[in-house]
């Protein structure tokens, strides 16, 4: 992250020299200072070689299980609620099996699975097409696998939205600020015309906290977060004991979000 910070300062410097919107640069700079201080290696920060998440579908039982998770994320990240599908912005949401895993469903599937909502979010792909296509490096992948967005650099070309095969990215079609119910001052709000998505709560990891959505299901462990490269991590234990699937694995993007479908007796 120190590299990111250095890069950022360079960018801020250049754009100031070039004179591209002085005040926004200063604001951006100030914001990044804030973020940078949060993420500069602090003793309590959670670190991993490769962050990953496991979604245990069977542990979501009632509507509130989903709602709690979605609200936790959207509230702390100032995700606006426009109340209409055209302007919609979302970081984590639900859809049915056939939409989350298109092509995998079949007519004779167990009804429970077929109609059950699945939690879906950015997969923080190992081989992310959104990063590959971004013309400004506003979308980039960190060493620990988190696929990040730099809201200040994004030009809003939406190439990444065309490239993401999971529909994980949202665009600010209009000013999001009036549509934030209660602003969390600790996380930046966005402007018109930039893309956003789940960031695996990098800002919380830096403070030693697990992602908000994972925290929201601490009791039932429906979501588990951990280091894929650490054989003793909780995610690895689940992966080695349960059958898991990933979304559209045939595309080779290597998602880091795994789904336990059946395993009520596992984990």
């Amino acid at each position: 992250m120190s590299i990111n910070r250095r890069q950022f300062l360079k960018i801020a410097g250049i754009s100031t020299i070039v004179g591209l919107g002085g005040t926004t640069t200063i604001k951006a700079l100030w914001r990044d200072e804030l973020e940078a201080s949060q993420v500069s290696p602090s003793p309590e920060a959670l670190v991993a070689k490769r962050w990953a998440m496991v979604v245990d579908v069977s542990k979501f039982k009632i509507d509130n299980d989903y709602k709690r998770v979605i609200d936790a994320c959207h509230r702390i990240h100032n995700v606006p609620d426009f109340g209409n599908p055209k302007d919609e912005v979302k970081w984590i949401w639900t859809d049915t099996f056939s939409h989350a895993f298109p092509g995998q469903e079949h007519e004779y599937m167990e009804g429970g699975i077929k109609h059950k909502p699945f939690m879906i979010l950015c997969n923080h792909c190992d081989n992310p097409p959104c990063v590959r296509v971004c013309p400004t490096k506003a979308t980039f992948k960190r060493e620990d696998g988190i696929v990040m967005m730099d809201f200040h650099r994004c030009i809003g070309c939406r190439f990444c939205m065309a490239a993401c095969p999971f529909g994980a990215r949202s665009f600010n079609w209009r000013d999001p600020r009036p549509f934030i119910k209660e602003e969390n001052k600790e996380f930046p709000t966005r402007t018109i015309g930039v893309v956003e998505k789940c960031n695996f709560c990098y800002e919380r990891l830096a403070k030693g906290l697990i992602p908000a959505c994972v925290e929201a299901c601490k009791d039932n462990k429906a979501l588990v977060f951990g280091d894929l490269k650490d054989p003793n991590s909780e995610v690895r234990k689940i992966l080695s004991s349960c059958y898991t699937i990933r979304r559209k694995s045939e595309l080779g993007t290597q998602p880091s979000v795994f789904y336990v479908i059946g395993g009520s007796n596992n984990a």
Partner: protein, 384 residues
């Protein structure tokens, strides 16, 4: 030479002023878009590129097709095209300018556009697209202007221009190939994920661009004393006959692959566009107009009698242009997003402000074209 654009008939000025008014209206709505955001358009989370990028895609083809009149003249010494090469080059200038404007109006943060050059990202096709487009624009301005200047003095073009001309010939297809790569390298977008996207783009470009040049030649001949020459127009007629046949063939190949393989993802967009899917079919009538016009143009072009008749040839050219405008400027881009990656359908239709901004960009393009053609034609009238 530019002063030649400042004198003209009443008709010329009425035309110029109507274009100015149209671009003015577009600009006012663009200011609205700037303050409200792209939410003013019909685009959404699911269909995140629409009319603007569609026009861009079509116009890149029109720009690339200048090579169709440049290449035979310079490489094969085909004299008949001598009179119209500059018309092709200037059409390229106008259309590349429109392309860049369409990209610009499509950006969520247009004032950060320089980020593309400040942080060059060679793994992004969009970076290369920006590079080849601006290079092509420069090449055509320099070549067109210099050739015309030389013509005016009745001297051959300077020697240093030759390498630039050859470069521009090689460069032209690249702008369209790179644009095709914007689409054809994306995982999970079945409709675009096809290796023949680039050749399909070239075939359709080499049909729609010269079709437009034929129409422009006939307009120029009707309104000025300059005659681009019957022979040149007829040759262009033959060229669009073959390129349009290729274009339709390529579409047929895509249909075969999609439907014979029977892979749902590959069939969905075709079904959505031409027959409707799950009860959604907003684009079906448009696509059928496009299909029918393609057939009409082929009938008129393949039959020698109607191809040789300039009236029917102009109808065929107009059919091709409208057909491909719908196919590329609309169906290809919008269709690629339907269904979305979760196999759900969100439809798209441009809004009024979006349409007016689009018209405004076209008006600017036509304004540039008019001014450049006015200069070119005046020079040609002068030396005739």
């Amino acid at each position: 030479m530019l002063e030649k654009a400042l004198t003209g008939s009443r008709r010329y000025w009425i035309w110029v002023f109507s274009l100015l008014v149209m671009s003015g209206i577009g600009f006012i709505f663009y200011l609205k878009q700037l303050s409200y955001g792209l939410g003013i358009t019909g685009m959404s989370r699911d269909v995140s590129w629409g009319f603007y990028i569609g026009q861009f895609t079509l116009l890149v083809g029109v720009a690339a097709s200048a090579v169709i009149v440049v290449l035979p003249y310079y490489l094969h010494n085909y004299k008949q095209f001598g009179r119209i090469t500059v018309l092709g080059e200037f059409l390229a200038v106008a259309s590349v300018t429109m392309c860049l404007l369409f990209i610009f109006v499509d950006l969520g943060q247009p004032f950060r556009i320089l980020n593309v050059l400040l942080y060059p990202t060679p793994n992004s096709v969009m970076f290369w697209d920006a590079v080849v487009l601006s290079g092509y624009l420069l090449l055509n301005i320099v070549i067109g202007w210099t050739v015309l200047g030389a013509e005016r003095k009745a001297s051959p073009p300077p020697d240093w221009l030759k390498p630039l001309i050859y470069l521009s010939i090689a460069w032209a297809p690249s702008i369209h190939i790179v644009t095709a790569f914007l689409y054809s390298g994306l995982p999970g977008r079945h409709f675009w994920l096809t290796a023949i996207m680039a050749v399909r783009f070239l075939a359709s470009a080499f049909a729609s661009g010269p079709a437009l040049i034929i129409i422009l030649c006939l307009i120029v001949r009707g309104f000025t004393k300059f005659d681009p020459g019957r022979e040149a127009i007829q040759t262009l007629g033959k060229i669009i006959t073959y390129t349009m046949i290729l274009n339709v063939l390529f579409l047929g190949f895509e249909l075969f692959t999609a439907f014979y393989s029977n892979i749902p993802g590959h069939m969905h967009t075709f079904q959505y566009l031409h027959a409707g899917l799950e009860g959604y079919g907003k684009l079906v009538p448009m696509m059928w107009i496009s299909n029918i016009l393609a057939v009409v143009s082929l009938v008129l072009l393949i039959n020698p009698a109607t191809r040789k008749n300039e009236r029917t040839l102009s109808m065929a050219s107009a059919s091709i242009f409208i057909s491909l405008w719908i196919d590329k400027g609309f169906g290809l881009v919008v269709g690629g997003f339907i269904p979305n990656p979760l196999e759900k359908i969100t439809e798209y239709w441009p809004t009024m402000p979006e349409t007016l901004i689009t018209l405004g960009v076209w008006a600017i393009g036509f304004l540039i074209l008019t001014i450049l053609y006015k200069v070119a034609v005046s020079v040609k009238e002068e030396i005739a």
